[in-house]
């Protein structure tokens, strides 16, 4: 009974943690990028202020927008929040994670994207359509690539449950493996594409020809925009946490974790996030945005790397 | 008098009277009456089967064909009554031709029945020749340039065929004479069949080739088929129905009788491969010829060639299953094809044309006629639940089990024909109506009666019929 209560507590803690940390992560990345470009940059806490400001603003909704347009931000936000909360950040002891394995998480993300794309075309403007159609094209490549990574991991560990994967990597001497490295690169590429970062998309632009995500949410304002933005931040959070828990799970509090383990876990997670933010910032400032139709090639490489990862697994297994 | 005599005398007598009768309505009525009477007399054969004589005999095989022939002749005569009335009203046929038509109709029935019940193979030959000459006259009935040309073609090709069949018949006698002895006995099929084991195999083989080519011309097997499409297209439609439904069967019956004789001789060649190749050729050729046809009657004439090919193929495969299928297909094809010709007759009278270009959307303008036509074509295409599906099912599976390499061309041929049938069906029965939409008073009963029988046969075959088929299938051998 107490164990159950602890587990529920941990799950709720996780929910809160990811929600609270997500804007911070975005703020850190922005600040770091600005610094690397020798600008001063906004304060690290600026995303929180932005969100708060948006929440206070009146929502302006296009005249012909349907209920779907207004419902989508809530659902999207909820789906991404849930997805992020199902990935172990500081502990693997998450009761809800049994309900959704890695494939189901991909499904949850797909649901969010589905709603977002529908919302994009709901108002009936050309920008919404551009964004939605490009987003779906990107996703059509990113999703298989992601699943190939899932395959690689699952083929090796015989599980698609993230806590189980993390525990396995923690407690077994996995060592350095070619296929894991390939899988990691592939996953990072997918993450970059899915979260709409450079070189696939530029979160800071409103230039018609290059927009993907921003074009899709162009009609949103006020609290709806706040939710959409928060959801996007959660998406980055999700991928960071995923990469962290699968490839560098060290520090995670295990099943029989005590309170100090949890503390270590949280600290380790913060450290990993910071490292991730630095890497992301370096990556983004050192590369140029690519044309939309180059994205398919970019993701094609990701898919190929995923496949290669699977094949290398056999090679190293049979060797 | 034996029932055999009755079924021959009634149509012969009818032919005589009708030749003299000048009133077309009465003549049509009398024609129908005589045909109906023949049918009922033929039914008597099922209960009272006479002993074979030197000239006539009745066994399981021909009794069902006699019943079938007299039945289709009977329904076709009902159809003919309405058809002829319209032809008279529109002035296409007049006095003498009409008298001739009705008389020849009965005479044709007579010759076909004679060919079926003849025990003497010489008599059978005479009957088939007479049937040919009769139909030649019928085909040229309209006296148009085209009909005369068709009749002439039919006549010349038919005559050569007949001559070759006679040579085959002589050769059979030649083979039988040393065993059975001189005279009429050596031409009786019952004797020939009983003692064929001791005949000279070489002569039998030679005879069969001539008989196959000779009677095969009448069956319409490729490449001997050339007369058939034109003869069907140019004659009066009731005659097309009888030609396709009956005369082809009669000729095939003759071939099969000789096949049975050969089957009894261990040294003789197996006719299977010859029949298989001719059957396949007919099937493929007719299937391809269907595509470019613009005349609806010629179209279905080619379909008859196709089905004769299937039947020949089935008998060529041999064995109880395939033989059964062939017999069943013979019967069902007769019924279905004549039903289709009944429909086609109506259609051409309604539209005033036989060209596909003038016919369209029948199910909209003439629902009863149109749907009847659909059912007929669906049946002839071999779709269930109509009966031809059953026979084609048996042919194909039997072929696959016994001669797998031949199943491929068989199925290809069936598919080619199927696609063509369907293409025309869509044009004729569906889509926007084309051509005249006038109504023609005519009875659809014969067509629906045939289709109903075909439908029932597809789901349920009565046990006695099956027993007959099976015993005949056993007789026909491998």
């Amino acid at each position: 009974m107490i164990a159950a209560a602890i587990a529920v507590g941990l799950q709720l803690g996780q929910l809160l943690l990811v929600l609270l940390l997500a804007p911070l992560l975005t703020g850190i990345v922005r600040k770091l990028k600005a610094r690397m470009l020798a600008r001063k940059g906004p304060p690290v806490l600026q995303p929180y202020r932005d969100l708060a400001k948006l929440l206070r603003k009146e929502a302006v909704v296009a005249e012909n927008a349907s209920w779907l347009f207004r419902a989508a931000p809530y659902l999207m936000f909820a789906l991404l929040w849930l997805a992020a909360a199902l990935v172990p950040t500081f502990t693997t002891r998450l009761p809800l994670s049994a309900a959704a394995d890695l494939i189901a998480l991909v499904g949850l993300l797909a649901s969010a994207r589905f709603l977002q794309a529908l919302a994009g075309v709901d108002v009936g403007t050309s920008f919404g359509g551009i964004g939605a159609s490009r987003e779906m094209m990107i996703a059509s490549l990113a999703e298989p690539a992601m699943l190939m990574v899932v395959f690689t991991v699952a083929l090796f560990i015989h599980s698609t449950s993230i806590p189980a994967i993390a525990e396995f990597v923690l407690h077994n001497d996995v060592g350095l493996r070619v296929s894991f490295a390939l899988g990691l690169i592939s996953l990072i590429m997918v993450a970059v594409a899915e979260t709409g970062r450079i070189p696939v998309d530029n979160p800071a632009t409103h230039l018609e020809l290059t927009m993907v995500h921003e074009a899709m949410v162009l009609e949103y304002s006020g609290r709806h925009l706040a939710l959409v933005e928060a959801a996007q931040m959660l998406r980055i959070m999700f991928y960071m946490a995923l990469i962290a828990s699968v490839f560098v799970p060290w520090g995670l509090a295990g099943q029989g974790a005590r309170i100090e383990d949890v503390g270590i876990g949280v600290a380790a997670f913060l450290g990993k996030l910071l490292a991730g933010a630095v890497l992301l910032a370096i990556f983004e400032v050192s590369i140029a945005k690519m044309r939309v139709f180059r994205v398919s090639e970019f993701l094609g490489v990701a898919l190929l790397l995923g496949l290669l990862a699977t094949i290398f697994l056999y090679v190293s297994q049979s060797a | 008098m034996s029932p055999v005599a009755f079924i021959l005398v009634v149509p012969l007598f009818g032919a005589g009277i009708l030749l003299l009768l000048p009133f077309h309505r009465t003549a049509a009525l009398l024609n129908a009456t005589a045909s109906t009477a023949t049918f009922f007399v033929a039914l008597v054969l099922f209960v009272a089967r006479p002993e074979p004589t030197a000239f006539f005999f009745v066994d399981d095989f021909n009794v069902y064909l006699v019943a079938l022939t007299s039945f289709v002749a009977c329904t076709a005569s009902w159809f003919s009554a309405g058809y002829i009335t319209h032809e008279v009203e529109t002035g296409h046929l007049t006095g003498v031709s009409l008298r001739f038509y009705h008389s020849m109709y009965q005479f044709l029935t007579f010759t076909m029945l004679l060919a079926l019940v003849a025990n003497n193979i010489g008599l059978m030959w005479v009957a088939v020749e007479a049937a040919t000459l009769t139909t030649v006259v019928m085909v040229s009935l309209y006296r148009t340039r085209e009909s005369i040309e068709a009749a002439w073609k039919y006549f010349i090709l038919g005559s050569v065929g007949i001559a070759l069949a006679l040579f085959g018949t002589i050769l059979i006698y030649l083979a039988a004479q040393p065993v059975i002895g001189d005279g009429i006995d050596a031409l009786a099929w019952t004797n020939l069949h009983a003692r064929s084991a001791s005949f000279d195999a070489g002569v039998l083989n030679l005879a069969f080739v001539f008989l196959l080519v000779g009677y095969g011309t009448k069956v319409g097997l490729a490449p001997l088929h050339a007369w058939l499409p034109d003869a069907h297209a140019e004659g009066p439609t009731p005659i097309s129905a009888v030609l396709s439904g009956l005369l082809l069967n009669v000729a095939l019956y003759a071939v099969l009788r000789f096949k049975m004789i050969l089957a009894g001789n261990p040294g003789a060649l197996t006719p299977g491969p010859l029949m298989l190749s001719m059957g396949t050729a007919s099937l493929l050729l007719a299937g391809l010829m269907l595509y470019r046809r613009r005349d609806i009657k010629r179209f279905f004439a080619y379909s008859s060639i196709e089905h004769m090919g299937i039947i020949t193929f089935a008998f060529g495969v041999g064995g109880p299953l395939a033989n059964f299928a062939g017999l069943l297909h013979m019967a069902l094809h007769s019924l279905t094809k004549s039903a289709i010709f009944f429909a086609v007759g109506h259609i051409s009278q309604v539209k005033g044309s036989q060209k596909f270009a003038d016919i369209g959307g029948l199910t909209t303008t003439h629902p009863w006629l149109g749907w009847g036509f659909v059912a007929g074509v669906v049946a002839i295409a071999g779709l269930p639940p109509l009966g031809l599906f059953m026979s084609e099912f048996l042919v194909v599976t039997a072929a696959m089990a016994r001669q797998p390499w031949l199943a491929a061309p068989l199925v290809a041929g069936l598919a080619i024909g199927f696609a063509a049938l369907l293409m025309r069906l869509h044009e004729v029965a569906f889509g926007e109506p084309r051509g005249s939409t006038e109504r023609v008073k005519a009875s659809l009963v014969p067509m629906y009666l045939h289709l109903a029988i075909v439908l029932v046969a597809g789901v349920f075959l009565p046990a006695p019929l099956v027993a007959w088929f099976q015993s005949v299938a056993a007789l026909l051998g491998g």
Partner: protein
Amino acid sequence: MLSVLLAVVLFLLALGIAGAVFGVPWAARIYAAAACACAVAAVAAVVFLVARADVPEALVLPVGLPWLSAHFRIDALAAWFALVINVAGTASAVFAIGYGGHNDEPARVVPFFPVFLAAMNLVLVADDAFAFLIAWEFMSLSSWLLVLSNHRRPGNARAAQVYLVMAALGTACLLLAFGIMAGPDGAYRFASIRDNPPQGAAAAIALALVLLGTGSKAGLVPVHAWLPLAHPAAPSHVSALMSGAMTKVAIYGLVRLLFDLAGPVPWGWGAALVAVGALSAVIGILHAVVERDLKTLLAFSTVENVGIAVMAFGLAIVFRTNAMGTLAALAFTAALFHVLNHAIMKSLMFFVAGAVEVSTGQRDLEKLGGLIHRLPVTATLALIGAASIAALPPLNGFVSEWLTFQAVLNSPSLPQWVLKFGVPVAGALLALSAALAAACFVRAYGMAFLGRPRSRKAAEAVEVAPSMRWAMAGLAGLCIGVGILPMVPAAAMAPLVRRFAGVDFAPLADGLSFGDFMLLAPVTPGVSSYSGFVVLIAVVAVTLASIEGVHRLATNRLRRAAAWDCGFPDPSPATQYTASSFAQPLRRVYASTVLRARDHVDMPEPGDARPARFTLSMRDLAWDAFYAPVERGVTWLAERMNTLQFLTIRRYLVFMFTALIVLLVTVALAK
């Protein structure tokens, strides 16, 4: 239960006759009766599966082939498929009560609709080759007539033509296969075939023919070409049955022959199924994603889904031949599950297409738009359907794809190297098709229901009749219900999984507790698991929490204004993104090679007053590679042969003479 099913079949046939006799005035009554009949059949199937699944019932009726009689039998396999098609059938009949009156010519639909249902049910209970093929072909025949009910529309005659010819070819393949299986003595009973399955080369030919015959009916690439022509051509409730139920009957045929009658099948056949399935899935959805006709799009999506199911069946064979029972059970469950799911969601989507067509007279996506405002109920139900067919959790489509992925993930334990490498590739293709399906249905839903109306008719659409809405609502409910409680159908199909995989589906191996019903853990608990129910609860809870939170933190003010559109709002609906433009990125990435998609832009010079034109061309490579050559070949041959009609008598005599001489020479040489 067999007698119940047969009684339903007879009743449906009688309804068909009633439909022909009484015609349109009785249409609603006939549809209602058909719905009841199908419901009874579905209940009977459930009862059989739950209570008597291990005791097949058989019956012999004195019809059909005389010496054989007609054999009927129901076992768990037949019962499962009977459940699937009768669920679709019931919904379709209910839908038709309101929809039937909108058909072009209702009198051409009413008689054949119940007959079509009867034929499909009859295929499932047939227990000899003859009865099976009669029912099979009868099914094609009745659906062909239904396709022809819209016979005056341009192109439908061609669709019907291609359809029935392909159906007949498929039947011919099965006929040949049965010929091999039955042997020269005509042992057509399934029991005899089961006892003496074909061996060696004969078995290989028979199985290839089976795959071709059933695959063409199911719509597998490359024998799918008829499907996107024929399914959309029929009235929508019939399209729903054709796509949702008839393709399932085809899959039933495949399973019956491959799993039951053919004896132990080598793993190569499983690999072939996996390959064909994966190919169908990708090609099908690629066609769908660029298609602008709503119903054709759905038909292509059927090709995709059939591919997925067949792929899962292939995996089941592969695992079974390698004696990996648990995994075979998993793959088999996934396949059967997908069969059920697709029947539900594809029927739903075709109903939606029907509703859209009824209310707007359009099914071209370029002419629709904004229907969510005019058809609120339909739009909501359509959203559920679209989401489930796009395989999104927590709906049902996701469950079967998830199970299939789980089966794919276990492929490395297979001993064959081809499969070790091949199955993950097939898995990648499956993932690709799932992602494309999402894109496809975002596009379909977005263009039809969202945005601004692109035509006057779309702007003036009105909500459809209650029965149509109820039918859609019922299926949408099933989408959710099956999605969150997948163990319920899994338990229903358990006997059949046990029969063909040898062992139980893992979660059902040692009984079921209430908790098991919540959690789907196909291999080992704790390794991979998914619970639609928990996900749904969690999503709802989190959403409610977000709404509550936002409403506490934020202002609730809301203002309606003109769309922002980056400051360039244009009132004309023509400035919206169209279906073609939405598909353009996908077309460029995938379809330029696979479908030979080409954009042609004709842009006039400045000063030239003529309008600019954009045309789009696409080709079906399967059509170009397989159908067109056959069509051309037959036409060419027919053209050549046609000269035979126009020869002189002398030439015909030459034929006769040649035939005679050839036969004589044959006889001379034969000695």
